[in-house]
Amino acid sequence: MKRKKVFSIFTSATLAIGLLTGCSADKTSQTSKNNGEAGGGTVIKIATQSPLSGGAATLGESIKLGAQLALEEQKEKFEKLGFKLELVPYDDQADPKKGVANAQLIGADQQVLGVVGHLNSGVAIPSSEIYEKYNIPMVSPANTATDVTDRGLKTVNRICARDDFQGPAGAKFAVEKLGAKKIFIIQDKTAYGTGLAEAFKKGAEEAGAEIVGFEGITIGEKDFNGVLNQVLAKKPDLVYFGGMYTEGGMLIKQARDKGITVPFMGGDGMDSSTLVEIAGDAVKNTFITSAAGVATATEAGKQFAEKYKQKFGKNIESYSAYGYDAMAVLLKAIEEAIKANGNKLPTREQVADAVRKVQDYEGVVTKVSFDEKGDNKYAKIYIYKFEEATYPARLEDEVSK
């Protein structure tokens, strides 16, 4: 009896300590704020929101690291202006609820002047409603769903292309260059996957192809034999998959095992080294459309890849450079806003306006000019082919607006 009592007191005490430690975290940030002020410089924080855990973690992590690199490089410049830059990474776990909860925390922290994120459009859409309420500008390196900017919010911007551009671009390539007349479409039933697949379907039908199947799979599943049996029955010339690399990789592998030899095509969610890891040799003869260009194509890009590898010990992924550019665009806008405000700390609205006004910014991997909806006029779609089982794939074609 006594042991139980001691134990229950112990448990409650642990819980209490857990609560208090969690709370003291805020105390530390409070003291660090004070230190910041004493150290000569108001603190400007930039938050990143991307999935750092889950099935898309490779890409989410790459966004965070790219943004981190950009921020560290510009720290000195801002210190000369009298401001201290800080990065606050958040994990939205690809879950809209978590994204919204984090967005509230971000909004409450007055030192945060901008957000780089998200990866999943399904998370970006509700979170951006919160950013709009707090007037915090968001620059997205990777959200491709049309709804993200179509709602006309003045704080939402993106530097990558949209799905209603990516889908038809892929469809045109498939019909014209690959000669596909019958296409089977598979999608992963998420906001991103369904949106992309629908855009591709429309584009393919307009280009004159016949859609012989439009099926869905559930993420987290491993066994795609059912859907693939249907593909076998319909005998298409091309199979298109709207979804992420985890399921895409398994789909390709199992399809090849079944003897489906026609080319596969996917979207930017498949643009990752983990795709090659999962699919192995089967990834040959797979095409992907991506909003992320080959970062190492330019001199600046090669240098970026080197710096990234040196600092983090990992190779760049597709969206690393976009995370870098998104952060750089945001910082440029903040710099402009500071100067326009007489070298004082700008308000969030001023930063949001400055972000939207960015024109002709030369990033490492893309040029950026925002239009009135927040889309990037210079966004391009790139088409890659996997000739061998290595990442990155070979660039086949580029499509601009």
Binding site: S12, G22, D26, S29, S32, Q93, P96, Q104, A108
Partner: protein, 428 residues
């Protein structure tokens, strides 16, 4: 320590002074130190202290309501973290109501329901479909989205629809016993989620995986409830009503019937309790709370999609009930508050703190162990520890004790369980 507690117990005035001082101190510290989550939590825990005092019920309720509706928002409103605190408080309120619903099914009636989040989803989608342009796709009449004023009506509608689904689920599973019931309800929860994820062809009812965006926020006489601080009051009022209803049910004929069914079904049947009807009532009532909160959730998030309604949610609510104490209303409230705050604030802040440490190079905790990701692990540990060592939870359920003399004298004043059992609690 024991002597102190004894002294406190006997002396009501001393208790009043202690509580008042505590509330005042935490109020002032929250007022002054805005970012201090500790002060916020301490102010909230003044309610817990209140629970342990020996005032009469009415006094406790009044003090509690004053703290929640006046003091807390007032103290928190001085800084920028106001919305964040109110958001946490609102979510805590929503989860408390859901946990109370599950408490009826699991705690009072002893039916382990693992698919509870399905009713939450049903409520959320009911409001979501009609408060966005979605309904234009299949409704032959009416102009959608309905304005925010319909929110209040939908609270009732959500309740009823969820209750209907509760009964529909209940009818087949009634003959199934304890362990199987858990699996069946789990399967049902998953089925509902998959169906909502796929109900976009042939008729687009739920917009599938894309979810319903831009749900209309509630409006009352033209005032739109946009910010968490305004929502907080809505949730508070609904929560108070819920607690009232639950307490009434618990001490009524149906509540006793549920407890009898929980203890031994066959004996209860032998005593003349209609088994089918009692179980269905439990399902229906629990589901209706969940459905009502689903409507509130949809209006608050302004975005409904199937990924908010996974098994993890059901298990989270189950953890709240187990942690707090199955069948005990104050216990469940405490459990819900603890788990929600753990999930939303503590884990995230802990992760941020650890991130800061590793960014500044002090300590390097690998990403994999970051506390925000360890949520499942922590839940698992809580479930196991509590099931093994304290199955009655933090604040166990008490049976009402009756004062013999008063009963004999014909008066119907019930000495409520808490007051009578207080001695047992503090001394045992």
């Amino acid at each position: 320590m024991k002597k102190w507690l004894n002294v406190l117990e006997q002396n009501k005035r001393l208790q009043a002074i202690v509580i008042a001082v505590y509330i005042v101190v935490t109020f002032i510290s929250l007022y002054l130190a805005q970012k201090s989550v500790v002060a916020f939590l301490l102010l909230l825990s003044s309610l817990l202290l209140l629970h342990f005092t020996t005032f009469s019920h009415r006094v406790k309720w009044v003090i509690g309501i004053v703290v929640l509706s006046v003091l807390l928002p007032l103290a928190a409103s001085q800084g920028e973290a106001y919305q964040s605190y109110m958001e946490v408080a609102t979510l805590v309120g929503i989860y408390i109501a859901m946990a109370l619903g599950l408490n009826i099914v699991v705690g009072l009636a002893g039916l382990l329901d693992l698919g509870f989040v399905a009713f939450f989803a049903i409520g959320a989608y009911t409001y979501g479909i009609f408060a966005t342009t979605q309904a234009n796709n299949f409704m032959p009449f009416g102009q959608y989205p309905l304005s925010g004023e319909s929110f209040w009506v939908f609270l009732i509608i959500g309740c009823i629809v969820a209750a209907i689904f509760g009964i529909l689920l209940g009818i087949p599973v009634l003959r199934v016993k304890g362990d199987y019931l858990a699996i069946v309800t789990l399967g049902f929860g998953e089925i509902i989620r998959i169906i909502f994820n796929n109900l976009d062809k042939p008729i687009n009812i739920t917009n599938g995986a894309m979810g319903l965006a831009s749900v209309q926020p509630p409006k009352l006489f033209g005032l739109e409830f946009m910010y968490p601080s305004q929502f907080y009051y809505v949730v508070l009022v609904i929560l108070l009503l819920t607690i009232f209803v639950v307490r009434r049910l618990e001490y009524s004929k149906i509540g006793r019937a549920w407890k009898a069914v929980r203890e031994n079904e066959i004996a209860a049947q032998a005593m003349g309790i209609p088994l089918v009807r009692t179980k269905l009532m439990a399902f229906a009532v629990g589901a209706s709370f969940s459905g009502m909160m689903g409507v509130v959730f949809a209006a608050k998030q302004t975005f409904v999609d199937p990924t908010s309604f996974t098994l993890l949610e059901s298990i989270t609510i189950l953890v709240m009930v187990i942690l707090g104490g199955m069948g005990s209303v104050p216990g469940v409230i405490l459990g819900a508050a603890l788990v929600t705050i753990l999930n939303l604030q503590v884990l995230t802040e802990l992760t941020n703190w650890l991130n800061q440490l590793s960014l500044s190079g002090v300590v390097h905790i690998p990403d994999a162990l970051s506390p925000a990701k360890m949520q499942r692990f922590i839940f698992g540990v809580i479930l196991i520890l509590f099931a093994l060592y304290r199955p009655q939870g933090l604040l166990p359920a008490k049976n009402p004790r009756f004062d013999e003399k008063e009963l004999k004298s014909g008066a119907t004043n019930m000495v409520d369980g808490k007051e009578g059992a207080k001695d047992v609690y503090f001394n045992g």
